[in-house]
Amino acid sequence: MMKKEVILAMSLMAVILAAFGQFRESPPPREVLKEVKSNGEKFLEGRWEGIYYKEILEPRKTDVNAQMLLDLIYGKDEIPGFLSTPNPFNGLHTNIVILNSWSRIDRAYRSFERVMIGRTERSLHEIDVGIWVMPNREEALRRVQEAIMHAAMAYKHRELPSGLPLGERFWYWEVPNTIRFLLGRVVAWVTWYSMAKPDPFVTEALAWGIEYRIQQHPKLLGMARKPVTVLVSNRPVAQGKAIALAGVTVAPISSLSPAKVTLQTKRTEKEWVVTASLDGRWVKFKAFSWDMETEKGKVKLERPVFPYKGELIVPLRQVAEALGIKVQQKGQTIALLPK
């Protein structure tokens, strides 16, 4: 019996590691980059598969690295209906710049649908995600305030579409549909440029997904994160992956698998849908949506669904309860009690 469990655990570990490797985007390899000197500093610089890359080598005073930045942003094909295709002028979809004074990663995701504007054909929608990592929180706040104050358009504070608080502070514009937020020493933003109509709830869902990613890096928060422990039949699951987003615990949907929940994923370039079922009950949710379908109808979610490393992150309690799993929370520990 014991042996079986060990084998099962090892197999699970192997699956997790394989998935982690598969869904973790790697930085440009060293051999495609050139060492360049400028003003007494040494950099690595180059272009690779649509990424412009520049990294300070000497003198090196930053703790930020490329993998850390890539882990903060959505993969090139992680937003259904969109793909990070190269800009027709410069061949880029991503910029990664790591300097001593700041580091940033910016990525564009262009919709498959296209439209003609005058003589120009372009994507109907474009989503742009940017993440700046500053040396400390004060610098991050100063920079975001300065960028807003030096904008030609006057800023007027608005609530987010959901009415929820994002990060430590957030700023929201309806046109162009932009959410910017501060968390620790990170400033992140999501903008949906559209020649039709953007969906502000999707823009917000994208931003929540970025907050989740930032929270996976306590070094960026400048404080220790209180871990959430999820127990299924008294065994811990989703270690390090269960996080409280503005008070609501979210976790990978696979956390429910040990509770005998069956998962069925349908992922195409235009949609990413997961159906979870247990004992005749089922829930169905889409990446970046704020509701789930159940056999009793649509249910509004407390936090949006978003992808992370190949699977969907969901508000744990709501989804578990919809599947008939009892949920008990005590402090930072959540126990899922299948029937």
Binding site: N87, N90, A151, A152, Y155
Partner: protein, 385 residues
Amino acid sequence: MIVELRVKNTFIALLVIILSFALPSFSFAQQWRYALLEEPSSYPLRWGEKEPPSEDMVAMPPGLDTSRTIPSSPGCYKVGMSGFVLSYKVEDSILRGAIDVVVWDEITGETYWNQTYPRVPKEGKINLEGLVLPSYITILRFQVSWSGSGTMFTRFSVFVVLDAPKSPMDPAWVNVLRISCNWARGESTPDGAANVLTQTLWEKGTYDPSQQWYTRNETDAGETFYLKSFLSDQSFPRGQCNDFADFLVCLINSVGAYETKAQRTYSFTVVYWGPLDPDGSGWRFQTNEVDPAPSGGSTQKFDFAYHQFTVVGSSVWNGTVKFATGIALGWERDTTYKLALVEWFREWQNHTIVQTIGPNDPGNPWNPTPALGFIPDITAADLPP
């Protein structure tokens, strides 16, 4: 039988691989030393890759010189230019060969000019008689071939512009000319070039006035435009009005159409910056219904602290938004443009609105600043935080 066939195939594959490595070594005896457009002089160019500018210059004359760090250089000439002299040197095992010069339009792909010079020595100069550059903006591709013991060729680009590129594009950046000559291809007048560049910027641009993008050190006297970073933006061309105005200055001035400058609606000293404004006083304005790039035709009114545009004297070009009557293409700044842009001005004191007035009402803040416009200070340096 199958095994035998596999062995045979492997042997053939190996032979192909060995030959593909070995063959190029036979051509060691034949190689280019240089193939340069020695006359007339090209306008100076900059790559736009690094600072300081002195370390970023394109080596001249245009063409190939294998002794250079970057062997191949593009060139830039005025429309209608002629009198080209090709200076060349090759290494070959035979004494004479043929030089073939083909010039084609890089944008349309059409052959523009072609001439073969048979039985020429391995080193010399050739007058490219009959080669007269087009009367319009374009990019030409030169291919110079040598046929001796074998055939080899080299290629380089030539930007054809209306006149000498003007500051801040003096020297012009190669990566800007690639865009400006492409967008303004076929234009032969300054007005035509400025108009099509503005129109195309609006069509292809992503106007986002929600934040400061690629400009820094903004004062009434000017600002620094981080042009390399702007050109590398994954959503290029993207930015707020400062970026669009400065980039339009670069585009129009790079093709020598005009010596345009950037200008703002009024001085920064009279802007009300919102809740963070130090004295809580100043002006803002609301635009009329405008169609920003890119909106797909939907219009809106913006609440602007200020606006920046591109000018020649008092004529305005603006690729950020389309007005009800069209895109501002050389519009008279203080009449047509102002009335198209501004619905009303609003004055604030101690963070409180004190008056709202029309664009032509007495006391309105419209005072294009600086009076003569400014040339943005462009740089290839890294964007500071």
